[in-house]
């Protein structure tokens, strides 16, 4: 882990009269896993949308490799900062067609081997290559979304609750894939999660957003360690865990 790959300076976002993000100043290191947690409506997804420029911030700057993202060609930027949405959208055609979507926009053809390699990176079984993408299960769809984003060879992957619709086994599988990618290719992950336990499992650092502002930002140990962690973040985590427990307790 090393230099800064992404940095926000006093980033603010409004939608109509609603303030979504206020004064966000953080930096993300190359190859790290930053998990963004916070209550619903805290602005977690909106932060990702600003990085990918699906939305324009109102004030402030975002630097990508030390360049202001508004000065970079937007379509190139979106290829370099890939995004996987909470609910995966499957495109028409086969699994291979879906994976080739990004490269095909630049008139690039992926070889059969390269498609299989991307599928393997996302732990998709090779015999799915010619399957109609609409026939995949929820977990397979999400892994397809990851493979499709990886086909653009991004240096940052934005993940908007990528496992929220998955069962525990599929969740762990996706977590393993993403951590493996980080370890092998140095991919930087900005991972929005509603699960504090997931943050403990995958994060290098944690950003707690509340009401569109940075509430806490630091290492997992400093914020979420049971013994030494930050009192406020742990209180938040306990609240989330308690809420989670309501649904599963007998």
């Amino acid at each position: 882990m090393g230099s800064k790959i992404l940095e926000t300076q006093c980033l603010s976002l409004r939608r109509g009269r609603q303030t979504v993000l206020t004064d966000i100043s953080i930096s993300i290191k190359r190859g790290e896993v930053l998990v963004v947690i916070g209550p619903s409506g805290a602005g977690k997804s909106s932060l990702l949308r600003c990085f990918n420029r699906l939305e324009n911030m109102e004030r402030g700057r975002i630097l990508f490799n030390e360049s202001d993202i508004t000065t970079l060609p937007i379509l190139d930027l979106r290829r370099q900062i890939g995004m996987v949405f909470q609910k995966s959208a499957v495109f028409e055609g086969t699994v291979a067609d879906n994976i080739c979507f990004g490269p095909r926009l630049r008139d690039e053809t992926l070889t059969h081997e390269r498609i299989l390699e991307l599928m393997a990176q996302a732990a998709l079984e090779p015999d799915l290559i010619d399957r109609d993408a609409h026939e995949l299960s929820g977990g397979q769809e999400q892994r397809l979304a990851i493979a499709r984003a990886l086909a653009n060879q991004p240096s940052v992957l934005l993940l908007d609750e990528p496992t929220s619709a998955l069962d525990p086994i599929a969740t762990h599988k996706v977590e393993d894939i993403l951590l493996h990618l980080r370890d092998t290719s140095g991919l930087t992950l900005v991972w929005v999660s509603h699960s504090v336990e997931q943050a403990r499992r995958v994060a290098d650092r944690v950003l707690l957003l509340e009401d569109g502002r940075v509430s806490r930002f630091g290492t997992v140990d400093a914020l979420l360690d049971h013994e030494r962690g930050d009192a406020h973040t742990l209180a938040f985590a306990r609240g989330v865990d308690d809420n989670d427990a309501v649904g599963v307790s007998p």
Partner: protein
């Protein structure tokens, strides 16, 4: 005195007798508590007055034979059609403008090509009925395209934004929905063209036969009309689709959430 328009006592009697159907419909509506009697009476009286006024207006325009009057009538038709079309998609910004422009350009292209090839002459007797048919079909196409894209873009927003996030530009990201809207607007016309004469005799042909023209002459005109309307629907559908899709994106290829305006 009975105005000339009715063509004498016999013609007026025929006209009034045809209104019997409306009375029957009103009776059925009352019997079945469909509560449509009031609307039926209004529609009947309104259509009667509208058509008589149009009849007199056309008589006047035909007598004058002034190109400005002819063009003026077409402009009025296009404006009313554009506004009617846009009323179906109130949430879409600039819908009225999109309706008027797409129907207008579609009409100009279709009628222009027919005039260029000498199929019809620029006389009110040709241009106004032909223009009316073109504008009517173009209006249906514009409505289908605008409502189709508006609904589809909202329902498929996730797919479109996922494509944008993968580096697609606005056109590439919404190509599927764009094509679907044009296709849906053209299908009724294509189907009607396929089955013309087999299921029902089309309006222009029916009118000509009733007015005493030979069926073969009526068919000849009807063929021209059908092909012309395919052109009108295609031109208008394409223009409406392009203008509608553009309202959903800014120049940075971002999907504009129009519901945000409600928060302001």
């Amino acid at each position: 005195m009975i105005p000339d328009f009715f063509g004498g006592v016999d013609e007026l009697t025929r006209l009034l007798l045809s209104a019997t159907f409306v009375l029957i419909a009103a009776g059925i509506s009352r019997w079945q508590s469909a509560d449509l009697e009031r609307d039926l009476v209004i529609a009947t009286v309104r259509s009667f007055i509208q058509l008589i006024l149009i009849g007199y207006a056309l008589e006047l325009v035909f007598e004058q034979d002034n190109p400005l009057f002819t063009v003026g009538i077409l402009v009025v038709m296009v404006t009313i059609a554009g506004r009617t079309s846009s009323a179906r998609v109130k949430e879409l910004p600039y819908a009225s403008r999109i309706g008027v422009v797409s129907i207008g350009v579609g009409t100009i292209l279709t009628v222009g090509i027919l005039l260029l090839f000498g199929v019809f002459e620029f006389v009110p007797q040709d241009i106004i009925p032909i223009g009316g048919m073109v504008v009517g079909s173009a209006m249906t196409a514009a409505t289908l395209v605008m409502t189709g894209i508006h609904e589809d873009f909202y329902n498929q927003r996730l797919v479109i934004e996922t494509k944008l996030a993968l580096g697609a530009n606005a056109r590439e990201a919404s190509m599927t929905q764009f094509r679907r809207a044009i296709r849906n607007a053209m299908i009724p016309m294509v189907d009607a063209t396929k089955t013309v004469g087999l299921i029902k005799l089309p309006g222009a042909m029916t009118g000509m036969i009733l007015a005493g023209a030979s069926p073969l002459e009526a068919v000849r005109i009807q063929i021209i009309v059908m092909y012309m309307l395919v052109g009108a629907v295609t031109f208008t559908g394409l223009i409406a689709a392009y203008l509608t899709y553009r309202t959903f994106f800014n120049k940075e290829h971002q999907f504009i959430d129009m519901s945000i305006k409600n928060l302001v």
